[in-house]
């Protein structure tokens, strides 16, 4: 007689424990059970923002402000109620077709969309092809660098289900991202905010106050300035003090040089002009310091300005950054960097990048043609995509020729001189090779 009672009690307890979890997750009326199909780019998804007409108008009128407005977000029959939406972006911020950040936690603590606590909707304002950011992030990931997943969506708004154009949806670099990519989320994450007039490239800055506006904390936000920024300053000091011929000796505890070399190589292969060695100094990255360690790494963000020029030399602006400059000026590191460029050239020469560019173009073409808010004509969209595909087809040869011209020994040597995902080795103490590019 007692066992049925105990079973009932256990069942009731289980329901009581699980109920709070269920009530704050996505209210699914469809069949989707994961956010992967939203952000993996396999299809063109529709996002419907249920938002008050006045709020939608205010979002545009006050687009320079970061004010949140309530919104219900619907995708594939899944509706996340009482989320918050605000305009985001720096140079892409505008009142015609603004970019947005959607925060599922804004008004309801603990709410998410199948694990995603926030989404970014980018307007691709500077990129008529709408592919630069996504293709760059895919390249980073293929080279073993954690980078946010992205995909295109058709955006619909309001009770009238009005079409608001094509957006690039992006995972946010947040605790969810950290957990998915590093298996931890309790380290220190900073978003880099370039300040007007800056041309920063790891130059020493002794005052902690200098770091405050530039490294916005995304975790541990309420900790003291000393706790937040002393380790960042220590990293910068180590970069500056490290001997060029043995960077690891001084820098090794703070930074994985090989991972940084890979990141530089991806950005310069893709002719990114606003990245780690862009024309205006470092930009568009997050800094993550692993929990309980000094070790940090850079996570790429907002790569709209890649695919800029087919003939951009991969050495452009290397001298503007203290660490990149040391790498470029030291033969063994320069050879490693050039070898990494060739790894990427091999990857791209397999046709992967061109096929992906073509697939995505076909996926979004009709939707972009109908986009009522795009700042570009159909011809500009088509031409920009044609260039992206041409870039994917021919850039490898351009880079190989460049490497051959300045370091033929690298071209002729057996490569794989830089291990992908090297930061993992440093982090875990064991080699992680699952992210090596297929050659």
């Amino acid at each position: 007689m007692r066992w049925p009672r105990i079973r009932s009690l256990v069942l009731m307890l289980a329901i009581a424990v699980c109920a709070p979890m269920v009530r704050v997750s996505a209210q699914s009326v469809g069949t989707v059970t994961s956010a992967d199909t939203l952000v993996d780019g396999s299809g063109l998804n529709d996002i419907w923002l249920h938002i008050n007409a006045r709020d939608w108008q205010d979002l545009h009128t006050n687009y320079q402000e970061g004010t949140y407005y309530p919104v219900d977000v619907e995708w594939q029959g899944v509706k996340i109620r009482n989320s918050g939406i605000r305009v985001r972006g720096n140079t892409t911020r505008n009142d015609h077709k603004p970019s947005f950040r959607i925060d599922f936690n804004r008004y309801v603590d603990g709410q998410d969309l199948f694990g995603l606590k926030a989404l970014v909707l980018n307007n691709s304002w500077h990129d008529p092809s709408m592919l630069h950011d996504d293709l760059s992030m895919q390249t980073f990931r293929k080279m073993g660098i954690p980078a946010p997943r992205q995909a295109h969506v058709r955006l619909y708004v309001g009770a009238a289900h009005e079409y608001a154009g094509v957006y690039v949806i992006s995972e946010e670099i947040s605790k969810t991202f950290l957990t998915a990519n590093f298996g931890e989320d309790n380290g220190y994450l900073y978003e880099f905010h370039r300040q007007d007039g800056d041309n920063y490239g790891f130059q020493e800055q002794p005052e902690l106050g200098w770091y405050i506006p530039r490294f916005g904390p995304k975790t541990h936000e309420t900790e003291s300035v000393a706790n937040l920024y002393t380790p960042v300053r220590n990293l910068v000091e180590a970069v500056n003090e490290a001997r060029q011929d043995n960077l690891e000796d001084r820098l090794g505890d703070y930074f994985d040089v090989r991972t940084f070399i890979t990141e530089l190589a991806v950005q310069n292969f893709l002719a990114q002009t606003d990245g780690l060695v862009g024309g205006v100094g470092m930009n568009n990255f997050y800094l993550y310091r692993f929990a309980g360690k000094k070790l940090s790494m850079l996570i790429p963000w907002d790569q709209d300005n890649s695919f800029s020029r087919m003939d951009m030399p991969p050495s452009d602006n290397m001298g503007t950054n203290v660490l990149a400059s040391k790498i470029w000026n030291e033969p063994k590191y320069r050879d490693a960097y050039l070898a990494r460029l060739l790894d990427i050239a091999d990857l791209v020469s397999s046709g992967w990048l061109e096929q992906e560019a073509a697939r995505e173009y076909e996926q979004i073409r009709a939707a972009v043609y109908e986009d009522p808010l795009t700042p570009y004509s159909r011809d500009e969209f088509d031409q920009a995509n044609a260039f992206v595909q041409q870039f994917a087809r021919e850039r490898g040869a351009v880079v190989r020729q460049y490497v051959a011209s300045i370091a033929p020994q690298v071209l002729n040597a057996g490569r794989l001189s830089v291990e992908s995902g090297a930061y993992r080795t440093r982090l875990n103490g064991t080699p992680q090779t699952q992210n090596l590019p297929r050659r």
Partner: protein, 424 residues
């Protein structure tokens, strides 16, 4: 025009009237007219019946112990709560003026600034910036409060101070029936802080009647001081995140702001009874905000209703009669030890309603508003040293009903405040 600019206009207007009147009448005074300087409770100067002016100083400084709230701003132990100076008087014996400035409020330093006069028997007119006639506790001078803080009802549901014109007076002898009715440029400053930058200006009306039903009834002598009143206000409410705020004793917001639009209507009832050295006071208020077109899909939402009430009692243990202003019969260091008053107040502020639902159903544009409440017990002792100085100690217990996800502490929390008050 921003509210501050309008306040400045009133300040200038009243100042010009007072200075002009003082200059004109001082020059026109006959040589025989008496100029009299006095210092009874306030320093004052009288130019006969032509022009009078007196200076009043109000100072309240607090030492506070609030519960630690990790997610909220740290509160200083010492709080210079009020530092005010006021000049008031009469012009030609008929027009009363009042100008008051607060030194610790840099955002809106000008407080009560108005002119008033009697135009008919039983009809006074008052114009300028002053308390709207709603809420007994809110419209009681801060120096005459029984407790260190206004009630939650008075602080957050009553409209507070506004720019406008009001008629007031009383009928019948012994104030059997008193009335106040006014029209104001917009809702009062208690509810307007978030709207200071808003360009929408919507007129508001407010009125109150107070009756003393037993004032002329000899058989019920003990009840003659009893008065009861009813108040209302009604005003246009601009669309926006302008719902009423609600804060804990420490000043942390605990009521979620929601979008409103349409009209804001208040109803209030008050009771005051002061038999001898005992004082009893109670109020209840209900505020209804409409939310026309404020849903996610532009649909109308159910009205937002906020409620508050309090009941308080005081006892002057040293035997003085309970009045607005307490003057000790035997001042401290002057043959006595001042006046001692004990008091207690129970109050509650609540918003939203119904059973707590799925948290995902609550948002600023949701039909449902999470039921939140703060039930507060205040007990205190006031020591009136003389007619100028008062020391007050309050011990406050809050019992908060908050969403599970709120950053503030739920359940019972304790606060203590000690105040040194000086009035001239």
């Amino acid at each position: 025009m921003p509210a501050r600019a309008n306040t400045w206009t009133v300040v200038r207007l009243v100042t010009v009237v007072v200075v002009l009147a003082a200059s004109l009448f001082a020059g026109a005074l006959p040589a025989s007219a008496q100029v009299k300087l006095t210092f009874d409770k306030h320093p004052a100067i009288d130019f006969g019946d032509v022009f009078t002016a007196s200076v009043r100083v109000k100072s309240q400084n607090d030492w506070r112990a609030f519960p630690s709230e990790p997610e909220s701003d740290q509160k200083n132990v010492f709080d210079p709560y009020r530092e005010r100076i006021a000049v008031e008087g009469r012009i030609l014996g008929r027009v009363l003026y009042h100008v008051e400035r607060e030194f610790h409020d840099t955002s809106s330093p000008w407080k009560n600034i108005y002119l008033e006069t009697r135009v008919l028997h039983g009809v006074h007119l008052q114009g300028g910036q002053f308390n709207m006639p709603f809420g007994l506790d809110q419209t009681t001078s801060l120096m005459d409060q029984d407790f260190n803080y206004h009630s939650l009802a008075g602080s957050f549901l009553a409209p507070g101070r506004g720019l406008g014109v009001m008629a007031y007076g009383d009928f019948f002898k012994k104030n059997l029936l008193a009335y106040e009715v006014g029209v104001f440029r917009q809702d009062g400053d208690n509810t307007r802080s978030a709207q200071l930058q808003d360009v929408h200006v919507a007129p508001a009306f407010a009125g109150r009647i107070v009756v003393k039903p037993f004032s002329k009834w000899q058989p019920l002598n003990f009840a003659r001081s009893m008065e009861t009143g009813f108040a209302f206000s009604d005003g246009e409410l601009p669309a926006g995140l302008y719902s009423l705020k609600g804060q804990t004793i420490a000043g942390d917001a605990f009521v979620q702001k929601v979008y409103v639009n349409g009209r804001r209507q208040r109803l209030g009832a008050q009771l005051q009874w002061r038999p001898g050295s005992i004082g009893v006071q109670a109020e209840a208020m209900r505020v209804r905000d409409t939310r026309l077109g404020q849903g996610i899909e532009d649909e109308d939402l159910p009205n937002l209703v906020e409620r508050a009430w309090y009941v308080s009692g005081t006892w002057l243990a040293t035997g003085e009669h309970k009045k607005d202003t307490i003057t000790p019969a035997r001042p401290f260091l002057n043959g006595g030890y001042g006046a001692i008053e004990l008091g207690a107040r129970l109050e509650r502020l609540s918003t939203g309603g119904g059973p707590a639902l799925n948290p995902a159903l609550y948002g600023p544009r949701s039909p449902d508003v999470f039921p939140t409440a703060d039930l507060v017990w205040t007990t205190g002792v006031n020591w009136y040293l003389n007619k100028f100085f008062e020391l007050s100690l309050n011990v406050i217990r809050e019992d908060r009903t908050l969403p599970r996800t709120a950053t503030l502490s739920s359940g019972p929390v304790w606060s203590r405040t000690f105040r040194v008050e000086f009035g001239l």
